[in-house]
Symmetry: C2
Subunit: 269 residues, 2 copies
């Protein structure tokens, strides 16, 4: 998918909502547990109920891996279902990968070629040769952790390095990597006030913004401080949407929550 | 496995060798490709040929994930084979994971409970609440990236943060986390001269040291600067051992390379 196509979808749907698929068998409606593949069935039901309200889906690989081979099969089925039925949605493997060059290349092939995701989240700690292998694929994107939504972000990310916080050093350095036009960045909604500084370094890059909803971030603030001339935002909500109800009405409840966010987004565009 | 058991194995075998299983179907002996599961067959053959010379095996998850569901099945079979046949070997899932708390918990369950590895490598960028979920399991260990063997390590890890390099900040901070006695650290052999400073911060922790062999690190220097009173080292070699030959003699060739390293280690102990 190209960034132009993604931006067109945002304007068409008046939505920059990404729905996170953190599928937890302890939280999904119990009647689905009788199905042969409850992880996939839940994902499929959420996708079918919300697709016209969002522009992206983000399966969280940890939740699939926790179920072993069956989980990986469900991940494969979920991305295949998205690519076959909703090819205009941007797909994100939320995997937080990153390793030395030849290993990063393997991860890139796993997510871009084997699973055919549009993008994958990656960690910056190992630097240039751990990131650039993800930037070698046409119309595929790496979404680099910059400033995350959790409390632990203050352990290292906000510490001063050569006079600027580490997360800004990451943005400055990574934006010089080869093919950095294929980079997006994770910035948590819980730290919306940092977005003004961030936009000075990467004015046009897409940001994936988790932390609205269950983690307490404000959609208005993210848009106020983080919107680029071309929108440039994907706001993720996972638990707040997909676990809105754990009863048989879960699809409608998820749709209602997604609709509320889409309505707010339409007003802010 | 307890750390005491691991240390006993090191003394018994006069070896602190870890063999990395980076299984690449383009590099394994062609006659194995005819087998139903060549990834597992190659891993099994390498393990059988080298088990008495090493104390740990480290499957690199990227190489398995790159083959999708089949790769994940091969990973499951490989760890099961190790646990059933060589229960005294320390097992490392080289996965470089890390995410917000509830997601890190899922990764920990995936590697410690579903796959039953002894340990998993993790990345520090997201801080305390991304690391501590991995430290909640008895006799299970998280191996935190500190100073990696690749060139990209100089992008961020060696930058000064509050007067010390970031990798030292990571060691100082992480060694204060809850259950930090279950932490080990990755330090690349290509940066052996940094080990003196590292041992001042974490004198007794185990270090997983990649980069001897294909990446050019020196075993002698790692031992000289990094050995603790209790050895405290696991030296990894992957490609230098497992791809010593791509012909039918690959098991003997791998064994010979492992034997050379074990012999050097016995002299250095």
């Amino acid at each position: 998918m190209t960034l132009e196509q993604l931006t067109n979808e945002i304007h068409k749907k008046k939505s920059f909502l990404c729905i996170g698929l953190d599928v937890d068998l302890d939280k999904i409606p119990p009647h689905l547990l009788e199905k042969e593949d409850p992880i996939f069935e839940f994902s499929k039901a959420i996708i079918d109920a919300t697709h016209d309200l969002c522009v992206a889906y983000k399966p969280n690989t940890a939740f699939f891996e926790a179920y072993g081979v069956k989980g990986w099969q469900a991940l494969q089925k979920t991305i295949n279902y998205l690519n076959e039925n909703y090819p205009n949605h941007f797909t994100i493997a939320d995997a937080k990968r990153g390793d030395i060059g030849n290993t990063s290349t393997r991860y890139a092939k796993a997510f871009f070629e084997d699973l055919e995701f549009d993008s994958v989240t990656i960690a910056p700690y190992m630097g240039k040769d751990s990131v650039e292998p993800f930037l070698q694929f046409d119309n595929k994107y790496a979404i680099l952790l910059a400033l995350t939504s959790n409390q632990g972000a203050f352990d290292f990310q906000t510490k001063q390095v050569d006079g600027v916080p580490l997360y800004q050093q990451v943005l400055q350095t990574a934006s010089q990597y080869d093919n950095s036009d294929r980079l997006m960045y994770v910035v948590g909604a819980t730290k919306a006030e940092f977005l003004t500084d961030i936009r000075k370094i990467i004015p046009n890059s897409f940001l994936l913004v988790p932390g609205v909803g269950a983690q307490g971030g404000s959609l208005e603030d993210v848009v106020k401080y983080g919107k680029s001339s071309n929108v440039g935002l994907l706001i993720n909500s996972s638990r707040g949407i997909i676990y809105a109800s754990s009863n048989e009405d879960f699809e409608k409840a998820a749709r209602d929550k997604a609709q509320q966010l889409q309505f707010q987004m339409a007003n802010l565009l």
